[in-house]
Assembly symmetry: C2
Homo-oligomer: 422 residues x 2
């Protein structure tokens, strides 16, 4: 194949793509920009621009305090119910609240209290550092018996499945893992790990931040206990938009939120001095939700529901397979390594490429090549595939530009001291 | 005075008001609406509408992930520094993060760890129930020795100052109070209570939610240790906008955030597995901030700085005095009680009126009279004075309409089962 043939091939794939029209539902301000970072901050849905105007002028500016009774109070459940459809949960099992980190703290602390007599939290070193930091904070607050066990991945790509399974014991209170691993894109077998944990009497908490909206998740099929996740990545909810949490129905009344806040109080306007947790998931709310950021989650979720998560997954895998094929032909000979599983069922929706000049290549890609990936130390160039708007042409051109950066040594002008974008 | 004379008098006061022009800097969508709830949700600054458009189209829609390096990462400190000027703090002593409740949890837990050997938290029953709920949650997480002591107010209006002072002991780890009390508007003498607590070796945490932007606060003059506060009331930051926290410089490196999150990590993009707190106030950040809600705080704070907090306080007191005079003449004979201190130096920026038919009067005021106050059980009609946009005419008409509701028995059609707005 020649390059021109290849470009035509990419365009033909785009032309045949029955999800391709969803790209028009997003703001594409710079036609020439190739955005490969939707797994970090999703693009702006056009419907969110209209909603933002309504939120500002009508809901805040005009209705003022009345808006709390006109949809704001119930927004955490309403949007949670929509997210539930993406992750195989009942509508009353998901609620939007605070941030992923804060929600992790709430659920881990609640789980440890329920699991009295068991003092270990089990995880792996592929988990988000942000999650590990929260887990360390939880351990600090508890008595000396509590421990955090971090199983190492052998290669930094694949989850240490058998080590985790071997480590589960009558001491394990909670197994918590990132379902799709943020660096390598490795995808855990949720059902298998959950079953193994349950066999040992442990609860399981899944961080779905890199799965929700990208990978079909079936919390019920896996009988998962707890989950958290982010809304600003594949859900396109906007920068730093509040996160969600899932608690299986039968656990909801057994768990208590350690961050016992007014929004989780049973009778909000009685102003009683004693905290009484609300029934159901509302008890896991704490503070007043940031409504501008919260409301704007809804349009992105609706786009995903409209497209259908199974179709999105199928396209995502076609696109990541395409990217891996191009890597093999164009980039592997130039020293790029594949840091993502080749097996489709073990892969989320991004592909990480390593290179000994990874950071400088990343900088050249951003500054000279109109491609926005992201970078994860030490040398991962992370390419996010967001099938609602990523085109085959985007992928093809990204590969070609990576190739040019190395063959033409365009990275050499960059220093490794440059700041890194999230 | 006749009523027409009175209205002319109110209008004359407005005409003489050198802050009156600030009302034009806010969206006033319904001219006929009298908004007396700016102490619960501040109005929309016009500058925030422009900023919201920029945030949506330019910062999120166009710049995408790049915006994190173009102002988003530093927004918590940048906006915190502006708030610092309203509360007598250094710029590097205030940061915007999460919600008031979450920030309270962080600082209380951090303070208790620093005060090992002391196990009591002291507060009063005039404090926000939301704060008491968080304090209860903190106590639940700690060992059995820790206690929450809630001093009762004798009359529900004035803070139990001498009871608090008498209760301070070598067991008191932390005294925490709401500087302006949410029901009665009672204003604590921050310097006196802080000094008394320090004499006993206790730390002090002030909740400034009903003071910031309404009352001059001088944390340094009082040598206050810790503070938290809300941005969506007098700061006009938008519904549920993130809160702020203050930690005096010399305490910053001594305190550790129990909600140890990625945003508070020393080297954000090293992705090390061990949490290392950032120097200074950033360690008190936890999750990724909700940028839409966070960014929109800034225009409201800038308006307050432009007007000047001392001038705002002077107007607020003139207006609350005016309201109290009108109450005495028009409403006291109808059974309305004043539930706010008459002494100006003991009063924040709202006035609470009680009545045995309080809730039904409140409902008539909202539904029939185009006045939006708020209501706090059991019978408080709370009238917020927000001198950036409250007019003397607003106050005069509110009083007249309250009078009409009672004299014409307009409240009788309402049930006390109606829902209540925050």
């Amino acid at each position: 194949m020649t390059i021109s043939t290849d470009l035509a091939y990419a365009d033909r794939l785009d032309a045949q793509d029955d999800l391709g029209h969803f790209r028009d539902r997003f703001m594409i301000a710079e036609d020439e920009l190739i955005y490969m970072d939707g797994n970090s901050l999703g693009r702006l849905p056009m419907a969110a621009t209209e909603l933002a105007t309504d939120m500002i002028h009508q809901q805040w500016g005009t209705r003022l305090i009345r808006s709390w009774n006109e949809g704001w109070f119930t927004a955490p459940e309403r949007i949670g119910a929509k997210i539930a459809h993406l992750i195989g949960a009942h509508e009353d099992e998901v609620i939007v609240a605070e941030s992923t980190s804060i929600n992790l703290f709430k659920l881990v602390m609640a789980a440890l209290r329920l699991q009295s007599g068991r003092a270990h939290i089990l995880t792996d070193d592929l988990n988000f550092p942000s999650d590990l930091y929260i887990l360390q904070g939880v351990i600090e607050l508890l008595d000396k018996q509590h421990q955090l066990e971090i199983m190492p991945s052998a290669d930094g790509v694949y989850g240490p499945v058998s080590a985790l399974q071997a480590r589960l014991s009558e001491q394990t209170a909670l197994l918590t893992l990132s379902h799709t691993v943020f660096k390598s894109g490795y995808l855990y077998d949720m059902a298998a790990l959950t079953a193994a944990a349950h066999d040992a009497g442990s609860l399981v908490l899944w961080d779905l931040s890199h799965s929700v909206g990208a990978v079909p998740v079936d919390l019920h099929a896996a009988n998962a206990d707890l989950a958290i996740g982010c809304t600003y990545k594949y859900l396109n909810g906007g920068p730093g938009a509040p996160a969600f949490l899932y608690v299986r129905r039968d656990l909801q009344e057994k768990l208590l939120n350690p961050l016992s806040g007014w929004m989780g109080q049973r009778d909000l306007f009685d102003f009683k001095l004693d905290y009484q947790p609300a029934p159901g998931l509302r008890r896991f709310l704490t503070g007043t939700p940031p409504m501008m950021s919260l409301a704007l989650i809804e349009p992105g979720v609706e786009l995903l529901l409209e497209a259908g998560i199974d179709k999105l997954r199928a396209k995502s895998l076609r696109q990541s397979n395409y990217l891996i094929q191009l890597w093999q032909r164009e980039l592997e000979p130039l020293g790029f390594t594949l840091k993502t599983p080749r097996e489709a069922q073990q892969r989320g929706s991004h592909v990480s490429l390593g290179h000994q000049e990874g950071l400088r290549i990343d900088l050249a890609l951003i500054n000279d090549m109109q491609v926005l990936p992201d970078f994860r130390a030490p040398d991962n160039i992370r390419l996010g595939i967001t099938p609602l708007y990523t085109t085959y042409r985007d992928i093809y051109q990204t590969v070609l530009r990576l190739k040019a950066i190395v063959t033409e040594r365009l990275y050499e002008k960059y220093s490794t001291d440059a700041p890194i974008v999230t």
